[in-house]
Structures are given as C-alpha cells and as structure tokens.
C-alpha cells in the first residue's frame, strides 16, 4: 500500500482526487500496488464532505508521515509550493506537480534534490495539460537530437486569437468572452502577455537541451497589440496569427522566444483552434512530430498529474534521464541577434518602405485607408529590424515563422 498526499484542493486538486478515485482499481493494477490518498492539504475548512477525514491545514502532518510516498503539488505559484516541494523531496518523498511556474523557476534545483534523495520529481501536467509531452520528449524521442520545439502552449490566448480570426471579433471582446467562460482569469496578464507560454517553452527547452532556461532571460511578447487589421492582412497571405513559444538549436547555442507569429495555413500548428494546444518537436531522426490536445482544464490536467503519481508510486529509484543541469545562461542567443522575416503594418508609402527595407512583399486588405501599407520583409535580424522600424510610422509588426 502506497499513500499519497495532494497539496491544494482548487480546480486541478479536486480534479486529481476525482480522477484518482474514478479509476482507482485500474490505477492500482498499473502501479502493481494498493494506492490511497491519505491527506489533502487545504487552507479552507473541509471544502468537500466526501473526503472529510483527509483534509489537513498542516503540511507537517504530511512531511512527517513516513507512509506518504508521493506528494502531488497542485497549489500553483511559488510562495508555498517551493518550500513544500523541496522539503518533501528532502524527506524522501517523490513529488509530482502541475505547477509550471515552479518548474520553470526551480526545475534544475528540484531535480537535483530529487536525485540526491533517490526519489522523483515529475511534471507532465506543467506543459500541455493532458497532452503527453514531457515524458515522450524525454523517453520516446531520446534517440533524437532535438533541433526545434515550437508550440501553441496557452489555451486562453489561442481561444482569443481563434475568435479574432474566425469571427472577426476584437481583442477586448474576445477576452471578455474568455473570462465569462472561465478560460481567462480576472487579471489575464500572465496569459495575454505571454508569461505562461514563456514558462512552458522554458521547461521544454530545458528538458530538450539539458540546461535550465530561465524565463527572465527569454524575450516574451503577448497578444494585446494584435488588431483585426493584422488578422486580415495575414488572411490575405493564407496565414494565421498564433502565440508561439519556440526553442531552436543553433550549433552549441539555442534561440528561445515567446511571441505572436504569422504561420502559414499548411502548418500543423495553424489548424489548432480554441483552447487546444499543440507542440511540434523536430528531431534529427524522426522529423516533425506534433502532439495535440486540451492544454488546460480540470480533468485533462488532473489526468496528467495522476499518471505521474502512478509512475512515481511504482518507481523505487530516481529516474536517470528526467534531468537537466543548472547553468549560466550564456548558451541562449540574445534575441536581438536572431533573424526572421517580419510582417509590418505602417503608415507609409511603398517607396519609403522599399527605401528602408529593400524588396518586400506588399499585402492588401479590403477597406484599408490610403495611408496604410502592409508588407513582409526578407530575412533580417531583430536589431536591424528595430532600427529600420524607427524610421517608419509602424502600427504593428509580427514575426513570420515557418513551422
């Protein structure tokens, strides 16, 4: 019999308990042992009568109970979770988490702690919700050198962009609907400013390239500046706008960025709509592999947490492969040195554009004012692009990515 503790009884926590008890018999068969949830850590007074005997407000009950072998941290944030997770690992308990902020900020350290105490730190649910991506990346694609990862990693922003693209809805209106449906928080900045996507691409990059990539070092742009005019111009070149997190191997260095980008309709990422996520992994042997599914939500995320619980429960030693090192960030190419094609919308005439950017591809849309000019540049580096844009009255710009 292996005992489990669940830290937090919010959306993912209650989902974790629900999925666990719904499929308990099948899960025990898979784990090869009896399993039960012994504690649920929650500050509120017994929010669920069914589990009355399991609730505690005192983490030490869990920490000091040698019966507890696996701790599932689903509180989120860093304030409480970091200390709980660290001390649980030090006490010889495996930890699984859905907390991307924790993994992105402290992954290397917590993986090291887990290894030192011969237990596991798993985080399948931290990226892509119910989509299996962490373990496939680590195990199934292990024969590959990973050259590139690019993903639609945030369901809220993808929902908003889908509304803008498919229904011609403005950003504010689409955000409002996302909030009404419970997809977006009252304070949506973590989503719409790209921070959530950034954390997730940092986790994937760390795993793929073996060195911790910290979010603070990654250039991150959100979707708040995107207009319906941009959507229309992109449509005219058979493309859509998606918020993309990407990490790309360039020799011994890597390029990592989070930004809204123009993606051709033939891309496997272009047809990913609403709250769905998709992650493209390009391996040197396997070519492009894409993982698609619901990137968030109570039960999908909970199912990833529970899968990790099962694997942690049946493992009697630290995973040798799920690991990356802490590292100076000098292997990350400063984003201003990166090159891309760019989509630009400006108040300018074509001659001025050509004078500044050389040959470009001009775009058109119905109802555009005389003064507006939209175009796609050739390959140009970020610093140079910024300098050139300074000489133009730019209304909006986006990177054009080939995935």
């Amino acid at each position: 019999m292996k005992k489990i503790a669940v830290l937090g009884y919010g959306v993912v926590g209650s989902g974790t308990v629900e999925v666990f008890y719904r499929n308990k018999a099948a899960l025990e068969k898979k784990a090869g042992d009896e399993l039960d949830i012994k504690y649920i850590l929650e500050v509120r007074d017994c929010p669920d009568e069914r589990y009355r005997d399991k609730f505690t407000k005192n983490f030490d009950d869990i920490l000091n109970d040698p019966e507890v072998k696996v701790v599932a941290e689903v509180i989120g944030g860093l304030k409480y979770s970091y200390g709980y997770v660290k001390s649980a690992l030090e006490a010889g308990k495996s930890v699984v988490t859905s907390n991307k902020e924790l993994v992105a900020a402290k992954g290397a350290e917590l993986l090291k702690t887990a290894r030192e105490h011969n237990v596991n730190f798993f985080f399948e649910a931290s990226v892509g919700g119910g989509i299996p991506i962490i373990r496939p990346l680590n195990q199934c694609l292990s024969a590959n050198e990973i050259d590139e990862i690019a993903g639609i990693l945030n369901g809220t922003t993808n929902f908003i962009l889908t509304k803008m693209i498919k229904e011609g809805m403005g950003f504010d209106e689409a955000l409002k609907i996302a909030q009404d449906l419970g997809y977006a928080e009252r304070d949506p900045s973590a989503d719409v400013e790209g921070h959530d996507t950034c954390r997730k691409i940092c986790i994937l990059a760390s795993l793929a390239f073996g060195k911790h990539v910290y979010p603070d070092n990654i250039h991150t742009e959100g979707i708040t500046k995107i207009t319906l005019e941009d959507v229309k111009y992109c449509e005219s070149m058979n493309s859509v706008i998606k918020l993309i997190g990407f990490a790309s191997r360039r020799g011994d260095e890597i390029a990592v960025m989070t930004c809204p980008a123009v993606i051709g309709e033939e891309s496997q990422l272009a047809g990913v709509n609403d709250v769905f996520n998709a992650i493209l992994v390009r391996g040197d042997a396997t070519g492009d592999v894409v993982f698609y599914g619901k990137g968030a939500g109570k039960l999908p995320t909970a199912s990833a947490v529970v899968s990790d619980i099962i694997i942690a429960a049946k493992s009697d030693h630290s995973s040798k492969t799920m690991h990356w090192e802490d590292s100076a960030q000098d292997f990350i190419i400063p984003y201003k040195k990166l090159s891309n094609r760019f989509y630009v919308r400006a108040n300018a005439d074509k001659k001025t554009v050509n004078d500044i950017f050389g040959e470009v591809r001009f775009l058109s849309r119905d109802g555009a004012p005389e003064s507006e000019c939209a175009f796609v540049t050739g390959e140009i580096n970020e610093a140079e692009f910024e300098e050139k844009c300074g000489r133009l009255n730019v209304l909006g710009s986006l990177r054009v990515l080939d995935y």
Copy 2:
C-alpha cells in the same frame, strides 16, 4: 557496458545502427551506461564494410552470448522473427521490435514470455514509426479510461488518397507514383488492402483495452475501390476520405475496424496528408489527444527502435504495465452489429433511394451522369445496410465517421 544485437540489416536495421552511432554519446548518458552494438545478424555477406566485425549469419552467436542484453528485431514478417524473439526472451534478453506483424500475431504470448523471464518486450516502432504512441498510451494516459482510438496508420495509402484528393489523380496512377518513390511495395496489397493498418489498430486496441485483439477477427477494407467520383462527392460535403483504423469501447465490448471513411474537414485527422500518420486517442479525463508525425521511413522508425533500446538497456526488471492478456475474442462486437452513417453512390433515382433508406442527404457533383445518385444515410447497422444495398445498384459506399 551493455551489448546490443540487431537482427536484420535492411532499411530499418541499417537505420537503427546509423542512429545509434550518430548519437551514441548522448544515448549512453541517457542509459547511464556504456552501450555498443556487438552483433548484426544478416544473411547477406557483410553489406556494410564499416561494421565488418559485427556481422554474423548465425543467430546462436547472439543467443549464447551472455554479454548481449538487448536484441533489436527488425527483420519483419513472422518466419524468422518469431523464433528468434521467443528464444532471446527465454534466454533472459530484452527484445525491442519494429515488427507489427509479429506484435499483432504474437504480442500476448511474447509479453508473457518476457514477464516470466523478467525482461522486456518493447515495440514503440511497430505503430506510427517515429511517433511516440505506445509508451504515451501506456504511461502518460494511464489515468484515463481510453474510450476510443482512431488513426491514419499507413503512410502509403494516405499518400495515395492525398494524391487523389489534392490532385484529382486516379488510384492506379497514384499507386504507381507511390511505388516509384519507394513508398509502396511492388506488391502493395498489405498496404492498400488495409492489412497493415489492421495490425496496427489491433496493437493499439490490445494495449488500450488489455486483451489481445487478433487481426483475423477484425473487419478490414482497403482503398482499392475508391474512385474520384467518391472523392468529389465527399468534397461537396466538406469532407475527405481517409483509411482509418478504429477501436472503440462499447460497455464491456469493443468495436474494431479498418476501413476507408468519410471524415469532416474540421477533424484533426482530415488535414493529415501525404505519408504522415496521426493517431487520435480519446480518454475519459483528457478528452481528445492527437499524435502526428512520419509513420514510416528509415530514420523515424529507427529512432523509435533506438529509444526502446535505451529504455530496455537501463531497465533491470520487467515492465509491470506494458502488458495485455491473451483472450477469447468474444469481447469484440461482430462488425455486422455495428451502426454508422454511410455515404452511398448508386445508379438509382431519388425516389427509390428514399423508399429503401428513408430520409437521406443527397449530394451532387459537377458532370455526374443523370443516372447517378449519391447520398448519406442516417445511422443504420451494417447488416441492415448490406440488405438495403442489395436492393440498389450500388457503385460505391463508405462509412461516415465522426472524429
């Protein structure tokens, strides 16, 4: 140091050796041990000078060498592979294979043998080539009850159908091109008659539902009867024709079939073109998850074989979860009892069609002869459909599936 033997030096075998040596240092780090290929079993005289000292024609060299811990079987077929794999497992060596015919025919037995000898039998490469699907299905989705699996599992037929759909090319011409490009065999029947797809959906169904599903018990149709007229009618209802293998839980029983089917354009399977494969898995908690990538080819398949080699090399005991039982086939619903909507093309008038099928949705296409009539039925079971078709001059029919 762990030694490996590769059985067969054809396309996948030579790819396996290539991927192994290309990424050897990284693989050893992941395996936590030194690794080397000691033997390559091959009937031809040294087909590759670089590995001169590794070739043998005598399987007993491998079987009797206690240094060999992992055997990779990439011969294909059943004739030699079954005996080699069985005896390797009995000798306490783990086996990994890309051989779907072997796994579909003997999976339950070989998994049992592996377990009895505390070694592993892995087969990630047998389905979906380089797409991670076997292990994610087994591990990451383990908290789910799997309700449904549906996949485009054969690259050759998907290439042919893509040519028919996108370029209006006839079946024979498309097959010829597939053969010229090396995608289709000289004798293409295993692909175009659906047998390859059938083996793969049987493997996935066995894993998802825990009981061996034998290909001989599964209704299987190929794509040889599909015409450009059918393609056009489907286009008129925003749908495409794909060769689908599906397995679906219906209470305590399952429905399994391989057939060309009409799929709506909004489906995640509809945009899967050329030699790409995709597998949709519907879990009760996670909802729809889709895995997409190259389903065949030398390096993708080899990368899956090598990933399995790494996991087998670092494991010191039999996997507790990668398992299914042999079983009577009475949990498989006889296909004539299944219900579907059907697309039908017939020489008939609308009144006759309505008299026989009741209310249907009629379709049209440019240039259809006066006598031709195409329509989509309501939900109807296979036996009844067959009976009704007997009263009509049917030119072609396809199941309409919702994925």
